[in-house]
């Protein structure tokens, strides 16, 4: 009977969805019946129901398609790693691309890379999501219509011929080009025309530094800053740990001087002067709130004092009143002077005279060629604002015949949008290489989309002498074409990008390394990702002191100064379409999906503003913008700060992101964009684009716009009215000073009663094998949030949209807790990565009714998603609040982006709990790999995603039972502490106490 039922079932695969229904059964199958049909059916029904019970629920048929011809070395299910170069920004960090079954999935830092040292920022991590973006152009466009490459090539070649004949001006605008091959290709292309020029335009430019060096060293170079050589770092506004020039490299270098040990209680001294509260400022030992317009004043005083210490004449010029106390200046000058040759003064001012002063100070301190390398300069910012402004004038005058723009959105990022657009319309040929319909591309006659960096061959030379390769990791998804090939076509060449690159390396790179056959050299270069070559040194003159003059500090009146900055993890408009980065909370403000005006609490009080109130920003030149307010402690009272790179064309697509339900609000209201473009506020002065705009009025405009913040409460200090006596501040962040640390390496331990580790019950669980643990050095962690995206990419963490973030339901497994401490507007900042602590006495495990979360015998708190029924009891009972619940089914706004999913990690459905698993898939992979080699797991072979990419190398993970492991060592560190230790949760995650190089009673803040 059972069999017959099964057979019936098997025959009808078409009906396989349903089970065999008792009513449909043919009674005659069961054999001769001794009684009536009706009675038979009664009995048969019962029997059949038994039979069908065991025949129910067949899974749908799954077709498995093997290769026809399996490519050599390709094993389905195995991940392969390719060396490449990150193209997220011109910093060009080393990249390892993890490719699984033909899909690049996970970006990791390249540990051997001399600049990034294994680190990778959030933008680099988020590259694959940008790759699988259906909004990227898949075909070239002519006048906004899809067309073929042949037609485009034909038209452009024809128009170029006309331009050539008419001797028209050809202008080629790019963002900083670090690729020597592309640079050569552009030069070769332009060489065909009489009036041709390559204009480099950086959306956030450092042009003044280069121009200042042209003055002082007769070479327009950007020094290569070596923060690992610097004992004293004084930065004026430069957010070098966050966004400035090459943040990953700088973080990696900076952290090497931030690890005092018991034996060597030494660390660098980092002072930050800034108007807004930047990521770097938050990590400084001493931070001065100083309006950017006052940088010159302080630098003038510093230069004067240092000149006296050096026994030289101070620079000419009037010395205005110092914005900070003379004793402070003297103290700082002394520190700098003592660290001659191992100190560094950095400044992000776009005022050339200020930068000249900075050069002078660095020169006085003999820092050149020690902490600032201009023999092997950096190529990471080459923007020339004077050229750009010149181009704008040319455009307005209609003097440009052909305009090419690559790697930047020319109109979005420049202030005078309308005039430029009008100028562009006068040109004969306007070509954009943009990968999507950006602001400029919509004005261009032709859009010739370049490949995504993960699809194309290219190279980079971020610092003279370090040449790296960027290799494709999959076939192009659309019909895009490498810019190298496009330029070749229009020059009448038909070479592929690969050929062009190889030819360029044969000619330009091979001669710069020790002689060897090209193929061997090339193979090694592609394998390693980079080569060290002899740098082509610029001709640098001696320091020309006659260019130096003191700068008059402009009195900062009652008007506000607006500081335009780049948000960490988004920088300019290029990545605005990346939902991971849009949802990445700003490390300091913790706001997602918006830009806003940061004002200090004092200013907010004066203007009667609170978070979310719309404020109108008006410059004295008449441009204005209306944005929500964010009250930001630590900000200068006369400075407002707004992030650039928002209001990007096409971001209205995010109206579809996140769950849709009765009370749900769209991330972007219809017709709106994510944030607002504030490029219109940029001023031009002295041939530079100025991101500091003074003479601004702020007025409350009445409306509101809710900001989506991932953190509601901001300080360790609990609200005064509910603070119990003696427990006003929680000792969650433990901090000490270098001075105290040198005396007692345990300094900073709170004076709490600890009852030891005694257990009330029998100790049944001894971890005899591995015991995974993690230690995070709070002294190194800058809060840059790269780990957050690394985790999101590795663990298939969904994007939830603005409304869900506003409801405190973001899904990131790592939360970067940010606390302010200190009184009033002068605050000190602490960052603390917070993920599942894998407690040995985990409160979450006890309460789960269905055993969905239990403890593994290697110390991991495991979450079996498929068992979870979603009571949320575990999340309630988690003292660290690190569990994340799938409130909805978070479908992607762009279905193509499902390709970014890591097949090693289950995608969670609605209604289940999830949390940091300590990358258990990597642990299992590492263990299996070791078992196959028949050897024990080697410390460092298993790395969590967050650890791998941490630019500061603040995260150590490993087997605590292995006495040789780094994590074991870190657990022995006197700075080690565990959070909420007094509750005996026994977490497997620990922190290393933060040590600040400041005086004991010093809040780290100085009122100006």
């Amino acid at each position: 009977m059972n069999d017959s039922a099964k057979k019936t079932y098997w025959k009808s695969f078409a009906q396989r969805d349903g089970c065999l229904d008792a009513n449909e059964a043919d009674p005659h199958q069961a054999g001769p019946a001794p009684f009536s049909r009706r009675h038979f059916l009664e009995a048969a029904g019962f029997t059949l129901s038994l039979a069908t019970l065991s025949g129910c629920g067949r899974a749908p048929e799954v077709i498995a398609l093997p290769f026809v011809d399996q490519p050599e070395g390709m094993i389905p299910g195995r991940s392969q790693t390719y060396a490449s170069t990150c193209a997220g920004c011109p910093a060009a960090c080393g990249l390892l691309v993890g490719v699984r079954d033909g899909r690049p999935l996970k970006m990791e830092g390249m540990p051997e890379h001399p600049l990034s040292r294994g680190g990778l920022c959030a933008i680099g991590q988020a590259l694959p999501l940008g790759l699988y973006d259906s909004h990227r152009l898949a075909q070239p466009l002519a006048s906004g219509k899809v067309t073929s490459w042949e037609d485009v090539d034909e038209s452009i070649t024809r128009l170029l011929g006309e331009v050539k004949q008419g001797n028209g001006a050809v202008r080629f605008v790019t963002s900083t080009v670090t690729s020597p091959t592309l640079k050569a290709q552009i030069d070769a292309f332009l060489a065909q025309y009489n009036d041709a020029k390559h204009v480099t335009f950086d959306a956030v430019s450092c042009s003044a530094i280069l121009d200042a060096h042209e003055k002082t060293h007769a070479a327009r170079v950007l020094p290569h800053y070596k923060l690992d050589q610097a004992n004293v770092i004084v930065a004026f506004g430069a957010d070098f740990l966050g966004t400035w020039i090459s943040p990953v490299e700088f973080t990696a270098a900076w952290q090497t001087r931030r690890a005092p040990t018991k034996k060597h209680p030494k660390m660098s001294y980092h002072v930050q002067f800034e108007g807004r509260l930047s990521l770097t400022g938050g990590n400084a030992d001493r931070r001065y709130r100083l309006s950017p317009v006052e940088y010159g004043g302080v630098l003038s005083h510093l230069a004067t004092t240092l000149s006296m210490l050096a026994g030289e004449d101070p620079p000419a010029g009037r010395l205005s009143e110092s914005p900070i106390a003379a004793t402070e200046i003297d103290h700082l000058a002394e520190k700098l002077w003592d660290a001659r040759g191992a100190s560094l003064v950095l400044c992000d001012s776009q005022d050339v005279s200020v930068q000249v002063l900075v050069n002078f100070i660095n020169h006085l301190l003999s820092n050149y060629n020690k902490t600032l390398d201009i023999q092997r300069p950096s190529r990471q910012r080459q923007g020339n604002d004077a050229d750009v402004l010149n181009l704008v004038e040319e455009l307005k005058a209609g003097k440009v015949a052909a305009l090419f723009v690559a790697g930047t959105d020319l109109t979005h990022n420049l202030p005078d949008h309308k005039a430029i657009a009008a100028g562009i319309s006068k040109a004969k040929l306007v070509v954009s290489f943009a990968e999507r319909q950006d602001d400029f591309a919509s004005l261009a006659h032709f859009v010739c989309p370049d490949h995504h960096p993960l699809e194309s061959w290219l190279d980079a030379e971020p610092v003279a002498g370090l040449v790296s390769i960027s290799q494709p990791t999959l076939q192009p998804l659309g019909g895009t074409r490498s810019i190298l090939e496009s330029l070749a076509r229009w020059s009448g060449d038909s070479d592929s990008a690969y050929d062009i690159l190889r030819a360029s390396w044969r000619e330009n790179v091979l001669p710069r390394v020790e002689p060897r056959p090209f193929q061997a050299f090339w193979d090694k270069a592609v394998h390693d990702g980079f080569v060290n070559a002899t740098p082509i040194a610029p001709t640098v003159s001696e320091f020309q002191s006659d260019t130096v003059a003191l700068v008059d500090a402009e009195p900062s009146g009652d008007d506000y100064t607006i500081s335009l900055y780049s948000k960490v993890g988004l920088t300019d408009s290029r990545h605005a379409h990346n939902p991971w980065l849009q949802e990445l909370p700003d490390p300091t403000t913790k706001i997602t999906w918006d830009n806003y005006v940061c004002v200090s609490p004092t200013a907010a009080k004066e203007l009667s503003l609170s978070n979310g109130d719309l404020v109108r920003v008006e410059t004295d030149e008449g441009s204005s913008v209306e944005l929500p307010t964010l009250v930001q402690p630590g900000q200068h009272d006369r400075v407002g700060a707004i992030a650039l790179g928002y209001g990007v064309r096409g971001t209205d697509r995010f109206a579809d992101i996140g769950p849709k339900w009765l009370e749900g609000r769209p991330t972007v209201a219809p017709g709106e964009l994510v944030g607002k473009n504030v490029a219109s506020l940029i001023e031009t002065r002295d041939g530079e684009l100025q991101y500091t705009v003074s003479g601004v009025t702020l007025t409350k405009s009445g409306g509101r716009r809710d900001l989506a913040s991932t953190q509601e409460h901001h300080s360790l200090e609990i609200p005064r009215n509910v603070a119990p006596h003696g427990a006003e501040v929680r000792d969650i962040i433990q901090e000490t000073t270098l001075e105290e640390f040198a005396q007692d390496s345990h300094a900073g331990t709170p004076h709490a009663h600890h009852h030891g580790d005694t257990q009330l019950w029998a100790e049944d669980h001894t971890k005899s094998g591995h015991s995974w643990g993690m230690v995070i050095d709070l002294n190194k962690c800058t809060g840059c949030s790269a780990c957050l995206i690394a985790c999101q990419s590795e663990n298939n963490v969904p994007v939830v949209g603005k409304d869900e973030v506003r409801r405190q339901r973001e899904m990131h497994w790592i939360r970067l807790d940010r606390y302010y401490s200190g009184a009033g507007d002068d605050v000190s900042v602490a960052h603390q990565p917070m993920m599942c602590h894998h407690c040995d006495n985990a409160p979450c495990e006890t309460v789960c009714p269905v055993l969905a979360t239990v403890h593994g015998d290697e110390g991991l708190n495991v979450q079996a998603y498929n068992r979870c029924v979603g009571t949320r009891y575990c999340a309630n009972n988690c003292p660290y609040k690190v569990r994340r619940f799938n409130w909805f089914k978070y479908e992607r706004e762009d279905a193509l982006q499902n390709l970014v999913l890591n097949p090693d990690v289950t995608v969670r459905t609605r209604g289940v709990m999830e949390k940091c698993s300590m990358c258990v898939q990597r642990i299992e992979e590492g263990k299996i790999a070791a078992r196959q080699r028949d050897e024990p797991v080697v410390d460092g072979n298993i790395q969590t995603a967050c650890q791998q990419s941490c630019p500061a190398q603040a995260i150590v993970f490993g087997d605590m039972n292995d006495p040789e492991s780094k994590v074991h060592g870190a657990f022995e560190d006197p700075r080690r502490y565990r959070l909420l230790e007094e509750f005996n949760f026994r977490p497997s995650v620990a922190y290393l106490r933060s040590v600040k190089n400041r005086e004991a009673a010093d809040g780290g803040e100085h009122h100006v």
């Binding site: 257990q759 019950w761 049944d764 669980h765 040995d840 006495n841 495990e845 239990v854 403890h855 593994g856």
Partner: protein, 179 residues
Amino acid sequence: MSDRVLLATFEHEDDLLAATDAVRRSGFKIVDAFTPYAVHGLERAMGLRPSRLTWVCFLCGMIGVLGMLWFEHWSTSIDWKLDVGGKPWNSLPSDVPVAFEAAVLLAGFGSVFALLAVSRLFPGKQPQIINPRVTDDRFLLVIDEADAGFDTAAVRKMLQEFHALAVEEKITLPGGDLQ
């Protein structure tokens, strides 16, 4: 039990109690009494022994508590040992609540089902209703007439003394089930 029984109807429980007591003392066999509510003292008057359902209850409760304790122990520390929150494999205190609930559940259901079984109560049962007012305001006493020396008239008279509203003779149904 013979076929013939004597039915006495009363209006008050006091009368029923007294009559029952008297009838039993006189040596007659009382088949049953029917009352609209539980009349206290009637069981003594009728000479019934206390119910043994308490033992059923106790037994079921014990099965519940021991069975559940065993299952909890077996499933958490023998069948598959899982480390839950660092607690010991066999954590007796946490087994108590469920074991208790199981005991109550089994004891409760056990005794109720035992009651229904012993009293032969089940859905759809059609009892013989002697007097429909017995569930409202009448008290009935049923006396067996089996005794050879049963003097119907004397008994009638005796019952009248206790304010019996009516006394009548009835023949039981086949099967002897009067209920």
